[in-house]
Amino acid sequence: MFAEQLAGNLIQGLVLGSIYGMATMGLSMIFGVLQVVNVGHGAFIMIGAFTTMTVFTKLGLNPIFAIPFALVIGMALGFLFYYVVMQRLIKAPELASLLATFSIGIILEETVKLTFGSEFRGFNWETGKLDLGVTVLPYSKLIAAGGSALVALLLYLWYHKTRSGTAVRSVIEDSEGARVCGINVNWAYALSFALGIGLTVTSGVFLTMFIPVGINPYMGGGYTVKAFVIAVLGGLASPYGAFFGGLIFGLMENGSYTILATIKGVEPFALTRFFSFVTLLVILLIRPTGLFKSQ
């Protein structure tokens, strides 16, 4: 009974974790290149969720088709905000960029609220279910998890096998040196910021496939805090490290429930959250720059 529950929760945790990872890669990418913590991260996830819902309910298309839309919308927003705001703040104190991204998040949330209202929405994409005995998984969740893993792989290949990816990596390592070598550093910044936002908006699509309810202008807040923690687990500046950070976080959140539920007189669900944050602190105590090495 206990073992079955634990196994079931760990499987669910792995699926959830890969989506958490996907939802953090954009954050890590932006931090890695621009040294900017995107406090408005959750708002971009929310944009992805609304994109998916619109594609499904208004256009009547399979949510998978929301991915290209989300990527394009996200990158467009990324370039826009980079050239209008962020590029002026590269040399400014850390606080300035924190506040700027926070304000951008609010602008997005309030605009969506005015357009769609503040109702919690959702949709129902029926894909059938896979019964594993210890737990049940709808195929929509598996598609979302598989898609997330694929994106992480593609990102890895882009970083290591393409010219633009290599250029971005060299900027991360030494922006002055890269400039001397003739790399257009501002373009590399713009591209990474846009790609980071694009990834984040796309992760909203996967997240909505996983949980197709609760879509609301303010839904991103909780994910922002989780993404911060996962990003640190993964080394903060490493996008695919973030993916593994997500897996670990998902496993911990779901797996610890079964164990904590055996303690009398406590609320195990709230304690799983406590446990995740304690783990974060312990990891930081041992390795002050996260589990995976930053590049």
């Binding site: 669910q12 609220k113 929405r121 309810v213 609760g214 609320e267 669900f269």
Partner: protein
């Protein structure tokens, strides 16, 4: 030295107070009654806040246009509504209430939504001694604090599930195992304590009881544990968003039960819009639902005075007020009913003086489209009864109490596989 400083300060303050008194002068004849509302138009309670604003505006419009105003000093004067946005934040509540009282000279304050914000504004309302109409703070504890000006229209939390359990007991005496899974908040806890007590009295077994934190985005581990106890009845929820998630993930994990009731979520139209057929047969208790059958005849039968628009009039006024084609939910109805209560209170007190109005409200009872209304000494609502609704073929029907129902209970709820195959919760 120190004493003389205090003397000077005291002198300055009494001078200021004296000037204030002189400026206030004799009371001018009243030409309107104003309701003040530091509403929650943005931030986390924006949705309920919008409903409340629509409900108040609808009721105010009815009072002015259909009733011809509110009678004070032997003549009818218009009712006015003044509202600000507190952003669902406790810091803003007190300053906005003070502005409403001192600058806008309102005669009653309507609380913002939620028990927390209601509590945040209570000390300042007490300070100014102004009637504080609570339409969105359900916590029983608010009424154990000794506030003298608070008047509740929403019902207290502990009674929510009494009807649901009575109804299931009647429909299926073999159902035994009850699972409770709810949001870890003061409100949901008081609801579930009430449910647990009532279930035990009726002879049900509580096989599972767990909470989840506010703001949760995945209930899978909790629901997996719930599934393992194979309950007959699942009762849970807390707010709208987690209720939606709850039902969705019950479907994802293929947890099939005979009856499933959620507080604060299942009764709203957006619930079915988001979940579609997954919500078939799901139930929920509510303070008020579109379709209840309260009318002047029902009032006469119970010997209560009737006030206010009919249900359909209210719905139309609400839609006009918000400029949206949206059916009001119980947030709107209880805010509207609170306006009607205030109107009666002022008329019976024959004054807008808050002490007199509060006393009149304490002695008063009436019925409106929202149902019956009566408060106890502390201001807590005790006259209002809950209804139970169920989703049947995409429509919300009222299945309990027997006197108010618009359809028979559909029992047991279809399984999620049956629902996916197109089965609806109708015969």
């Amino acid at each position: 030295m120190r004493r003389s400083v205090w003397k000077v300060l005291f002198g300055v303050f009494s001078l200021v107070a004296l000037v204030g008194l002189l400026l206030a002068g004799p009371a001018a004849a009243l030409d309107k009654v104003v309701i003040g509302h530091p509403g929650a138009l943005s931030g986390k309670y924006a949705k309920a806040g919008e409903q409340a604003r629509g409900g108040i505006e609808a009721a105010v419009k009815w009072v002015n246009e259909t009733r011809g105003g509110i009678e004070v000093d032997g003549r009818k004067v218009p009712l006015e509504y003044k509202n600000y946005d507190c952003e669902s934040k406790k810091e803003s509540v007190t300053s906005l209430i003070e502005r409403l009282v001192t600058k806008d000279k309102v005669h009653a304050i309507f609380t913002p939504y939620s028990s927390g914000l209601t509590l945040a504004g209570a000390p300042i309302a007490e300070k100014y001694g102004i009637v504080y109409m609570d339409h969105g703070g359900a916590s029983d504890k608010i009424f154990k604090q000794g506030f003298e000006y608070i008047v509740q229209t929403i019902g207290p939390g502990s009674k929510y599930h009494a009807g649901t359990l009575d109804m299931i007991k009647k429909a299926d005496p073999t159902a035994k195992k009850v699972a409770l899974a709810y949001e870890d908040s003061e409100f949901a806890r008081s609801v579930m304590d009430g449910a647990k007590q009532h279930a035990t009295e009726l002879g049900f077994d509580i096989v599972f009881e767990r909470t989840y934190p506010k703001g949760v985005t995945d209930l899978t581990p909790l629901l997996s544990a719930l599934k393992a106890t194979s309950p007959d009845i699942v009762i849970g929820g807390g707010h709208f968003e987690d209720g939606q998630l709850f039902n969705r993930q019950m479907a994802d994990l293929d947890i099939n039960v005979r009856a499933f009731s959620l507080i604060a979520a299942a009764t709203l139209p957006a619930f079915y819009e988001a979940l579609t057929y997954l919500a078939e047969g799901v139930m929920g208790p509510s303070h008020w639902e579109y379709g209840v059958t309260f009318d002047p005849d029902a009032a006469a039968k119970e010997g209560l005075q009737w006030i206010g628009p009919s249900q359909d009039e209210f719905v139309q006024l609400f839609k006009d007020a918000l400029g949206k084609d949206m059916i009001p939910d119980y947030h709107a109805a209880e805010a509207g009913a609170a306006v009607l209560a205030l109107v009666l209170g002022i008329e019976q007190a024959k004054s807008v003086d808050s002490d007199k109005v509060r006393a009149a409200l304490g002695d008063m009872t009436f019925m409106s489209f929202y149902g019956s209304w009566k408060i106890d000494k502390t201001g807590k609502q005790i006259g209002h009864d809950m209804v139970d609704v169920q989703w049947q073929n995409g429509k919300r029907v009222i299945v309990w109490p027997a006197g108010a129902r618009t359809a028979e209970l559909y029992y047991p709820m279809p399984t999620f596989a049956e629902k996916a195959a197109g089965k609806k919760a109708t015969k």
